[in-house]
Amino acid sequence: MKLITAIVQPHRADEVKEALAAAGIAGLTVTEVQGYGAQKGHAEVYRGAEYQVDFRPKIRIDVVVADADLDATLDLVIAAARTGRIGDGKVWATDLVEVARVRTGERGEAAL
């Protein structure tokens, strides 16, 4: 099993969610996060004085998938999140040692 973590533009989060739901992914977790990448921060001007805002708001989506679904899911997320401009974010995957469904105690891919 893999944990896919996607950091995406806030205005693309709904598209990513819908694409994942359409592909039969049963659940995901969404967090509002802040950070920066190639886009860096931005400047705001108050009464003529410039303030540097280092972090930009992003949405972090965590989803767990079976090993066989990894590539297809990554492609889905990338297609749904992409606008083609700097700031579109990153997606990465990590190996998971174990997953359990809390309600039934099922383990492994049966718990997804």
Binding site: E44, V45, Y46, R47, G48, A49, Y51, Q52, V53
Partner: protein
């Protein structure tokens, strides 16, 4: 119709009182998330400190029998004793006037608080506000509103407190910020512009009570200054936003709000002396000059955080100069502006009044702040400042995540 006078003045009083939460929101929204409550506490607490001072000896220093034109007799109205005789008919009487004057004094001190955002011990602020109102506002009030030397010997024009209220608080803020030194983190940007805007709306409403209440009754003057006060706030917006658009590329919410206050500050000394066109020109000038003046503090190297010096100090000076430049002879004040053929002597008197007010407030505030810093220490510790003044001074936070 005196009963109508009483009714209007009581209404004006209530409206002016709204300026305190208004100023708290205006400054609180501009402070960082971790200093918003402390900012509001400093503003509101001036009603407490100034009321005590006023009842004990403050009112005497302003309007008591003059001692050499410098101060009124401090014991003149001690305890507000003996002012309670019912005149037997409806008229605006002493108990009302004494209460009304307290609001003027307290709002002046509250403006100075803006200079202290994020780094001044709350206890030190309370002591400072007691001393500042006593040694800066009350003597200036005597010179301008009471029987002091400026009013006796200078033929200057100040309708509702451009000198004693706005220039004094602007210069006081500059001197206090200089003595306090800059915040550790000057990159803390305004945290809630919606709060700022609500605060400005309340202040604008209060300003109508302030200026039209200064008319003293339900009369023509009150209606006249309502018009000029509205117009100056409106064109103040234009002036400030125009400078922003040209200089920074965008008109901003904070700029619009600041422009309104700049225009209102400008019209305060001039509300009874300019006509509609004059009020609009004055507001435009005040808004534009204040937008420029907001950048001066960086050059001075002083972290005068919320720009009271620019908005109230410079805004007040612009307004005072405008009334002698394009005063309208047919106005209630009957001032013939220099541009319309008026006599140059009023300009000299105005400049003398501006110089005396600003110079006195600047020097006296500097001395007070320096002495208090030696005696009790004005600044919070670095750790307290880092944690935020809301948490370190009041053991509270305005927001869950702050």
């Amino acid at each position: 119709m005196p009963a109508a006078d009483v009714a209007w003045m009581l209404a004006a009083f209530a409206v002016v009182l709204i300026m305190f939460p208004g100023l708290s929101l205006f400054y609180g929204g501009m402070a960082g998330t971790k200093n918003a409550l402390n900012m509001m506490m400093m503003c509101m607490s001036t009603l407490a400190t100034v009321s005590v001072v006023y009842v004990l000896f403050g009112h005497g220093i302003v309007v008591g029998d003059s001692i050499g034109g410098i101060i009124g007799n401090p014991s003149g109205f001690w305890g507000f004793l003996g002012i309670y005789e019912d005149p037997g008919e409806p008229m605006v009487s002493d108990p009302f006037w004494f209460a009304f004057y307290i609001l003027f004094a307290a709002i002046t001190v509250a403006i100075v608080a803006s200079a202290a955002v994020g780094r001044m011990k709350f206890s030190a602020w309370l002591v400072f506000s007691l001393v500042w109102v006593t040694l800066v506002y009350l003597p200036l009030g005597h010179w301008v509103f009471g029987g002091g030397w400026m009013r006796e010997h200078l033929d200057f024009h100040d309708y509702a407190g451009g000198t004693a209220v706005h220039m004094a608080s602007g210069m006081g803020a500059l001197a206090l910020a200089f003595v306090l030194g800059p915040r550790r983190n000057t990159q803390m940007r305004p945290h809630s512009l919606p709060l700022v805007l609500v605060g400005v709306a309340m202040l604008w409403m209060g300003w109508i009570g302030f200026n039209a209440g200064t008319a003293g009754g339900a009369n023509f003057l009150a209606q006249y200054v309502t018009l000029t006060t509205l117009l100056a706030g409106s064109t103040g917006m234009i002036g400030f936003c125009l400078v922003e658009r040209l200089r920074d590329g965008r008109a901003t919410t904070l700029g619009m709000c600041s422009g309104v206050i700049a225009g209102l500050v400008g019209i305060t000394p001039a509300a009874d002396g300019v006509d509609a066109l004059g009020a609009m020109a004055l507001g435009l000038a005040a808004g534009a000059v204040v937008a420029w003046a907001c950048t001066w503090k960086t050059k001075l190297g002083i972290d005068e955080t919320l720009d009271a010096f620019a908005v109230h100090g410079i805004g007040g000076i612009v307004g005072s100069l405008c009334v002698v430049l394009f005063g309208y002879a047919g106005s209630p004040a009957g001032i013939e502006g220099i541009l319309f053929g008026g006599d140059w002597s009023i300009l000299l008197a105005e400049i003398a009044a501006i110089g005396a007010t600003c110079g006195y407030a600047l020097v006296m505030t500097f001395v007070i702040a320096k002495v208090l810093d030696k005696l009790i220490g004005l600044r919070a510790s670095d750790e307290d400042e880092y944690d935020g003044m809301d948490l370190s001074q009041h053991a509270e936070t305005a927001y869950d995540a702050a």
